[in-house]
Symmetry: D2
Subunit: 353 residues, 4 copies
């Protein structure tokens, strides 16, 4: 049996879209067929969102994106003012991004481990696997403990996930886990610094959930931190009401897609007629035919009054391949240069549900 | 343009597995290859879970299952003591099952509407579409309002989704929305009557979320109902600790799959060494190659210490085709006949996180 | 390392649709959504083809269907007069069906072998793998040699694949490889006895191809058997001209689907205005979005003038699961009872291209 | 109803990999996960094939690749000595490449036409559709007629598809359908000029098939051109025997993949122990779980003794997205600079089966 150290030697490296000018290639793909054309149109719609001065951009993240080498892409989108709010699965934000911010890494798995036949060995070594990527489970436990520590020091009350993730950003700054102090950059930190709110509507379902369960268990009968998921929904709806023109850039589907689409209806329920999302691009491998929300077309969303159909595009591709092209296209077109920063987190701070 | 009435004429009918004895056919499939063999093995593992007197069965639901005609399958599993807890997306439980319990229906869409080209017309008619199925959006708003009414009458405090869904069951009973009183049967009602706890870890992201947003908006500054999603996680972990031997029957992936798998780790964090899930069957169309949790193999889950590999099976099929076969197989084998009812909701009632 | 004998112990068994009456279940699925509804409609269209006295039924086979346990389904379709012509990949007809007719078997692979990590071991043992199924390569070589023997004894000239496969049927009868003489039943034999022509448009690409390469190699410079693939196309077009009303039952896509659809155009080129295929059902896992013919919708085929759109249905499912339901439905509805046998092979015998 | 002219206005343009240096980006992807990493490894293996002085490269084409804008990629591979033989579906070579060589174009379809609801209109206008691409059916008929003309003027005897396609190349040169004379470049022409043999093992199943059916119909009872598909197999096997070290670059699966893999076994049958293909890269959207050859992993091929496992890589992506990256990577790394041209067509000319 190999040792843990032998298996965790080659770290995942995050791609830097700023180094790769794909504008001409993506534009050429617009005159091809199938996925190439869809990708080009999606990239052009994302560029259009950024040039629309009225439009706030909501980024939705599902799937194992950060562990796959896409962290820097999202950091760049935040730091270059190309996204105004994020809705994500908890795993991307806590188990993967915050995890790396604490100094840990994801590792490339050899072909053999990808097959699944060696998962028993990995179990014994306390190594967790995400398809072709490996994680040191002991480090993941340290990440859980960190979220528990954060819960232990903030005032006990119901929090939206956004509020808690903001505390995680404050923690990174406080502890010097920043590029300026020799740490690595992270989505949580960049969003904290740029007042980009991050929502994880199913927040208990990640490393933060483990920390909060431990926190609540220790506080039984005493005041404790709880997570108000209705408040998440309320907050993002407030943003939609305050900024009616919106565009969605969605990687994967799942809860983030559903949640971000639903705020149009929620605004309506609160008595404000909000327009549908004006732009929508989704990168997904999901299959429309099973009727799941993840794979439902953006046209279908228009029947629900959630997404307008003029500027919508599905890109059927695995994200590690398609997203670098879409994001690099928009960055190198400099679509964000004249864009105003929205700092939506500040808008939300006075909000009390 | 057709009228709404013309489009909503042919209702979805829920399949009754009790009428279809597929035991011999499924057993024959065990000697074939590919999906047939996988399905047969999955059905046999589900039967084995039910015969294992120690084993508690957790059912996970993701995708549009109730609108697709699978409601009666789940009602039958509950009423025949073939499932002990449910983890689901909110849409299945509230927008679809509770919605039908209120007297509304899902409708079959003509081929033309499935193509997406008519979604503008549907929008104008206030008809929502799920691939090949239609919903009257005005009825869906009545469903939202009902959840708001429930939130308005229960004591204001943080609730787990389980507690709130239990209140929805009490509402159905109170209002006579039961088969005994001429209503239709539902998962929410059957689970309420049989003390089967239902968890929706991303609960804000459904019709109940709309109701709760409206409730919180009206109660600004006053005591209000909030949703503590950490409590959900805490509660299901308590169940795992109280009943260490568990099996998972998963339809789709997403948050329910992740949440149910994670309780093994959560138990560990609370200081109780809980065994991995002993049995696991997943029906999914998802593709393993994108690294998403929905599609991650059950072998991969074993590297995380969540699922044992002896009795695990992925069934790669759309659920409307595979689930009736798997469930009918177990029911007609009468695997549940000597099974004791667990009434886990009672176990949870005294739990205070 | 295990021995070959240890790995080849559990044979694939072919499902017998006559034992499984699924009519009520499939009819119930017609009122559900997604694949269940599609499958029910596909089964009902197949039934309708069989009840249409004008309609000749062409069965198209691609994918590893025989090795997967579907041989008896196709034998039953032939022997019950539910199919009039077959277009197939060579592998299904020669490497798998004829192979089993010679007395060989396919074997169930353990979970470990399915992962691909043990393929080196299989190589050393001369065992070939088809996903989760194993084949003794030495037996496959005997199958190659048998096709060479057949080529050696028939008059040297260009043959259509149909003519050569007919010779394979004659060989089985001559050698007593029939159920009556203690052998197993086969597609090749049943089709021979019932004058159902079988076309393999890419015939060189299978065990027969190996036999013919060996034959041609030995006959260099002398008269030899050759395969005229244009003649295949010519013959099936003649059938279409003689019997204008046709329906397609397609399992998988590939060359068989393309070939069978193209005869409508070919008839036109020969100066006979033949109607489009009136009925078409395809069972496939292929994905429409890559533009391949295998996955192209039957609606798309109508733009080419190949398939009418009134009675067409795609069933997105792996074949081992969907085909037994579709075929059993039609058989148990006894749709074929009043159907006349077409014996199209006799129609073709006088045809000389 | 629109006119044909209104629908056919925006032509597909073929991407030029020479304009897009993606080397740094693809190398960066090697340190990511999932498809990005697989694609990078695939590109690196293709580069390695080209640098291996012993290795002959066989390109396999399935799916609608030329109509999708990939024609120039393949022309560049041929003209830059990056491929030594081609195995393809007939549609790519005849209906799409030769079709464009005759001066016709493929056209971009509007979103509406992609949905399938307008296929009746397309039928009336004699426009054929490939997912999101349109073709003028009357032009396609002219292509059929051209292949008939070619068949009418060459000596009547059995031809391999390779020999017939060579005649198509000669026709283009003879008729001045060349870039030098103001025509467009094509795979058929480039391969003719560079003695790169092209095999279409299911050749009747395309525009050439239509031409040959018409030819044979007119020649009834007289000497005629026929297609010997066994000869195709024999010829490619001869190449393998003459050049034992080989690598496969496969786009899609189907008959071309099967055919090219099988020559290893065929060589063995002819008494020459040929090594397995040393390198193999496949770009595909197919799903391994249905057991079809198109989707079978290259590891599985190794159990059949066809592909070595040291340098094999599956890239799960639609081809229009992945192939430009893989091909541009190899071209910009100039892996082919010191490669000797093989001119395998010359090797074959004296071969008589």
């Amino acid at each position: 049996m190999p040792t843990k150290k032998e298996l965790l030697t080659r770290p995942i490296q995050h791609i830097d879209i700023k180094q790769h000018n794909v504008v001409a290639m993506v534009d050429a793909m617009a005159d091809m067929a199938f996925t190439a054309r869809d990708l080009a149109r999606g990239a052009q719609i994302y560029e259009r969102m950024l040039r629309d001065q009225e439009c706030g951009v909501i980024l939705c993240l599902a799937g194992s994106l950060i562990s796959a080498g896409l962290k820097q892409v999202f950091v760049d989108l935040i730091r270059n003012n190309m996204v105004d709010a994020i809705v994500s699965t908890g795993a991307n934000i806590v188990d993967q991004d915050f995890f790396e911010a604490l100094g840990f890494r994801h590792w490339i798995a050899d072909e053999l481990y990808k097959s699944g036949t060696e998962d028993g060995t990995l179990r014994e070594l306390m190594i967790d696997r995400i398809y072709d990527t490996l994680i040191d489970e002991e480090e993941l436990r340290l990440c859980d403990e960190t979220t528990e520590k954060i819960a232990n020091v903030i005032p006990p009350r119901p929090y939206s996930s956004r509020e808690f993730i903001r505390e995680m950003g404050a923690y990174l700054e406080r502890e010097g886990k920043t590029p300026a102090k020799g740490g690595v950059d992270s989505i949580v930190l960049a969003a904290f610094e740029n007042d980009v709110p991050i929502f994880c509507p199913a927040f208990s379902d990640c490393s933060a959930g483990f920390g909060l369960v431990a926190h609540q268990h220790a506080r039984q009968g005493k005041p404790m931190v709880s997570l108000d998921s209705a408040k998440d929904f309320y907050e993002l709806t407030q943003i939609k009401i305050a900024n009616p023109t919106t565009g969605l850039l969605m990687i994967g589907g799942g809860v983030p897609k559903n949640f971000a689409q639903d705020i149009v209806v929620a605004a309506d329920i609160l008595g404000t007629e909000a327009p549908m999302h004006k732009y929508a691009v989704q990168i997904t491998v999901a299959d429309v035919r099973d009727g799941a929300l993840s794979s439902s077309t953006l046209k279908e969303a228009s029947s629900w009054g959630k997404v307008d159909t003029t500027f919508e595009q599905m890109i059927y591709s695995e994200a590690t391949l398609a997203l670098p092209l879409v994001a690099a296209y928009a960055w190198h077109k400099q679509a964000h240069q004249s864009r105003k920063q929205r700092r939506w987190a500040r808008v939300l701070e006075p909000v009390t549900a």
